[in-house]
Amino acid sequence: MKMYLWHLQSEITKTRAFVFKNWIMTKRNVFTLFEILFWPVVGFLSVGLLAEFASLGEGMRAFILVGIVSMSAVQVCQLDVAYVLLYDIWSKSIKHGFVAPVGLRHLLLGSLTVGIARGITVFVILVGASRWIFGFDFTVPGPGPICLFLSGLFLSAAMVGMLVCILVLLFGHRAEVAAWSLVSLMLLLCGIYYPISILPDWVVAVSQLIPLTYFLEYIRCFYGFDPTFSHVLYKGYAMVAAYLFLETVLMKGAIRHARRTGMLLKLSE
């Protein structure tokens, strides 16, 4: 029992290490504050004002505002997961992290914790701004569905962040751009500003492979939009769980690859 408790404490401490790192880096760097306060608010206001200018009806406006709020929360959260490696790469200290006896679980859970905290901050700011500036009430679905929706968003963010980490371990600095571009790609495919039904069939087929599509469909049900697919929440969770499992395997493989090619050393130089 004592051994088990010691082991548990060690696991928690190792996970806390990544919370500690991401949290302090967030506090002390202006660009991370911009990620929470500046870019989401600017994006939100631009899109919201465009909707006003286009004199969109209440339903259409709700559709677009749900999209931009969700997108901003996902972007901020996934960045934190990606930063868990990127901070070490930018400071050229990645080898020290890999010399320590930590596992993927510590790295991901720790960084995701800070990501969720930042994502919720952005979500709350934008939900407040939606109500105050555009008179749109995001809380219509109630706390339960919103929690389920946010869980889906943050798991999707973890999925994207992990993909960035995998790409960086495989391709080095060249892949850093994925931290900002993957979400933009999702913006195009998942129906952030428009229903996916307007996309060509082959694009819809790709959209169906992205869990965020289902979570957006789920929350929009509460604003009167019929989902394109059935059982959206189940499908979204099942898909994100499968991807996270697959990415865990891939990331272990990417670390082995980085050890084989010397990428860990190159990223420390």
Partner: protein, 313 residues
């Protein structure tokens, strides 16, 4: 004899280029045994494979072929158990730029699962040991190069490692800072008995710190042993320079036992002997017999730099 490191038939080739045609054979059939408690130096010219070898031992790089045992356990199958008991400090230290000295130490201590009061005490101990308490709150990017290096060493001790890898620990430091770091390393080995494996370019550093040396060149181990044994093996002698008045008639020094080389000018000569402590009395006797008056005498002992030069030729 317990071994801290045992390496058998290690090979590593880096492949680069789009068509993967550029190949760099970094390690060729390296075999090495490092006993527990020793201070082992790995020296050699640039591109010899020193850092590659150290990186494989620290599980940052995987070999193409060969077996690696660290503290009795095999890599990579027992990597977590091994990583708990080793640590690494490298020259040109780099850590998270926004974290202070104390926060960096806290962070790395947490990575080893050290929690609560134990971590606090450990961090305080390291701040004290390396004399960096007064900069504990200073961010890493505001530190001097010497202090960064001290932090790197302090970080390497957060888990009280049984085996410590030092990759060129004094590179880029001014002589004073380098001296302090060397003293800290020496103290660490002497007081804690930590097994240390160090790569360096600095031959004087290797000679003053390391009990054993592995000399590498072009990815292979060229020689291995105690510094004095390597010198003996290479027949590197001590040089005695004598300035004198008078003339030397008999060519005795050419044939004297232990003289490896003799060169005579008008009023000076250069004698290379195997061991100056053994040969100097005879040489002085010879000058006395020749009635030559010695007014200046210099002795230069061979050092690892000579060994380095001999091996890199």
């Amino acid at each position: 004899m317990d071994l801290a490191v045992e390496v058998k038939g290690l090979r590593k080739t880096f492949v680069a280029g789009i068509l993967r045609k550029r190949r760099n054979e970094a390690l060729r059939d390296v075999t090495l045994r490092i006993p527990v408690g020793s201070f082992w130096g790995i020296i050699g010219p640039n591109g010899a494979g020193k850092t590659t070898l150290l990186s494989i031992l620290a599980n940052l790089l995987s070999p193409d072929e060969g077996e690696v045992y660290v503290l009795g356990k095999q890599l990579p199958s027992c990597s977590t158990e091994i990583l708990e008991r080793i640590n690494l400090s490298s020259g040109n230290a780099n850590f998270l730029w926004s974290l202070s000295v104390r926060e960096n130490l806290e962070y790395y201590a947490m990575l080893y699962g050290i929690s609560g009061r134990r971590r606090h005490l450990k961090v305080e101990e390291l701040l004290e040991m390396f004399g960096i308490r007064d900069v504990a709150k200073v961010r890493f990017d505001e530190l001097s190069t010497g202090t960064k290096q001290k932090l790197s060493l302090a970080k390497a001790l957060v888990n009280d490692p049984a085996l410590l890898f030092l990759d060129e620990p004094t590179v880029g430091l001014d002589p004073d800072a380098a001296h302090r770091i060397r003293e800290a390393i020496r103290h660490l080995h002497r007081e804690r008995g930590t097994t240390i494996v160090m790569t360096t370019h600095n031959m004087h550093e290797a000679e003053s710190l390391c009990e054993h040396i592995t000399f590498m060149k072009d990815g292979a181990v060229v020689a291995c042993g105690r510094p004095e044994d390597l010198k003996r093996e290479l027949h590197l002698g001590d040089t005695i320079r004598i300035s004198f008045r008078g003339t030397l008639t008999a060519p005795f020094l050419d044939t004297m036992k232990g003289v490896l080389h003799f060169q005579l000018d008008d009023s000076s000569c250069r004698v290379v002997v195997d061991d100056h402590r053994k040969r100097l009395p005879q040489i002085l006797d010879y000058f006395l017999a020749q009635k030559a008056y010695i007014y200046d005498l210099h002795i230069e002992e061979s050092d690892l730099e000579d060994v380095f030069m001999a091996f890199t030729k």
